[in-house]
Amino acid sequence: MKYTSAVLFLLALVACRDPQSPVDEPFEGPKMPANFPAPAYNLSQNPVTEAGFNLGKKLFYDKIISRDSTISCADCHISYSAFSHPDHPTSHGIDNLFGRRNALAVQNMLWGKEFFWDGGVPNLDLVPLNAIQSPVEMDNTPAEVLNRLKQNAEYKAMFKAAFGTEEVTTARFLQSLSQFMAMLISANSPYDHYVRGESGGELSSDALAGMTLFQTKCAGCHSTDLFTDNSFRNNGLLDDFTFDQGRYEVSQLPDDIGKFRVPSLRNVTATAPYMHHGKLKTLEAVLDHYASGVKESATLDPLLRQPDGSLGIPLNATEKAQIIAFLKTLTDEQFLRDARFAE
């Protein structure tokens, strides 16, 4: 009986430390993971504070941002899927209109250089404006959003707490959202523990074999511990780009037709379906694509052309399974279930 009580007490203690329970520790801003490169975002121009983070989080979850108050950022960017939209090839926005592209994960945004599948937004602060103004997402104007916030006593108090003034400006509105997104750092997967030599970093032999394969076959694009080189490439998914021309729509440079962002692979097990069109449902389907499904087109990435003229990346069944075993080590359960970020 004594032992049972002790075990229960210990369990209760563990539960208190569970990342799903609210944290009562003093607020800590974003911490730079040791295995990451230097961030692209200049945090000194927008230091993250608890009040700024709380305001950004409230805005992220508030449907008031959309024209008819039916859609929030979080509707298509859900915390437990690394802020992507699980099971949705493309998302449904306002008036049940569908977008053209799969909702990207919102994680490690401080390291982003250009955002969205086409890289149309070069600064984190400006990212929310895209969704706010998109006619198939929130279909609102930034001016109207500011008007609504200015009339809301709760928001006025939160702006005062975050910025020392009740005055709602474009910059403060967007900076608070940046402060929320700045905190969404995922760097505690088993892989991270492995590379940092921490406990919890014991990887299976399959995962280790997969890591070696990954480094030779995948890291040409999914490079660094961010698992992306932030470039735009045509990965041979399609040979007709009339529906979506990708980076070209932003750059107007013919070499960019059919190129899309190289997405990070962090938490990739939680962000299905895959690719810009969201049509590949599993990691197996993704690797099958690279092994045997790559299509020829003028802008196909050179890394997908083999010296013998074949297309794609040679992978046998064992290699695919090992790479997937490795990709599973990129899942950061602590991030996916972090109570600070969930609604």
């Binding site: 937004v121 070069p122 910059a171």
Partner: protein, 266 residues
Amino acid sequence: MNKFYVWAAALFSAVLIIPACKDGRDEGITGFGSVEIEFDNRAEGESLVFGKTYTNAAGESLSFSLLDYYVSNVVLVSEDGARYVAPKDSCYFLCKHEDPDSRVVRINNVPAGNYSGLEFMIGVDSAKSVSPVTERVGVLDPATGASGHYWSWNAGYIFMKVEGNSPAAGTADNFFQYHIGLFGGFNSPTLNNLKTIALTAPAEPAMVRQGEEAPHFHLYVDALEIFKSPNVLSIEDYPAVHASPYSANIAANYADMFVIDHVHNH
């Protein structure tokens, strides 16, 4: 040091000093003043009037209903070539045809001198186009001053916005619409439609003097040049141009729509 070197040094200094005195501040002109630049939109030799029918270089009749453009990065060039670069952040203007006050821009704290040359950019430079939101105030604030002049999906400012009606358009209400932007990208390149305009005063320079009224560059801005050179723009062929490769042709056209008609000195 022997005497030769002293003399040589003195002579050399004099050679340096003499041309230095010949910048815009010669003859004892000192202090600071202001300059005004008026963007006077015109068509067919008269002030542009919205709704009035004109004919473009393709022979199509048209009328205008909107003509707005960003002016930035102003440089004043004195008679002997010295350049005064106006502080960039005080120098972003959105000239709207329907708001005449917005089309007279003022540059303050200009070193006194005689300025015969004027340079400016049509559009918003790439550094500003990727700057943090705190640096986007006034006409650069996406929610207020830049409302309607900012693309959120391809984050950047619309440098030149031209709209109107023409029977050649073949669209609903015969509407035509040209929204020209694209600053060249920052980390990854894009089409670059930024245009720097360099103009020279036809006769007397703008004489900036401390404590005196600001001289006034009076620019004529021929709206029909948008359709004329170097590329004849047919509304029938291109009733709407936004972010597209063809936008480069229109940017090339508006790059030569500005001339200094005259300078007022008071």
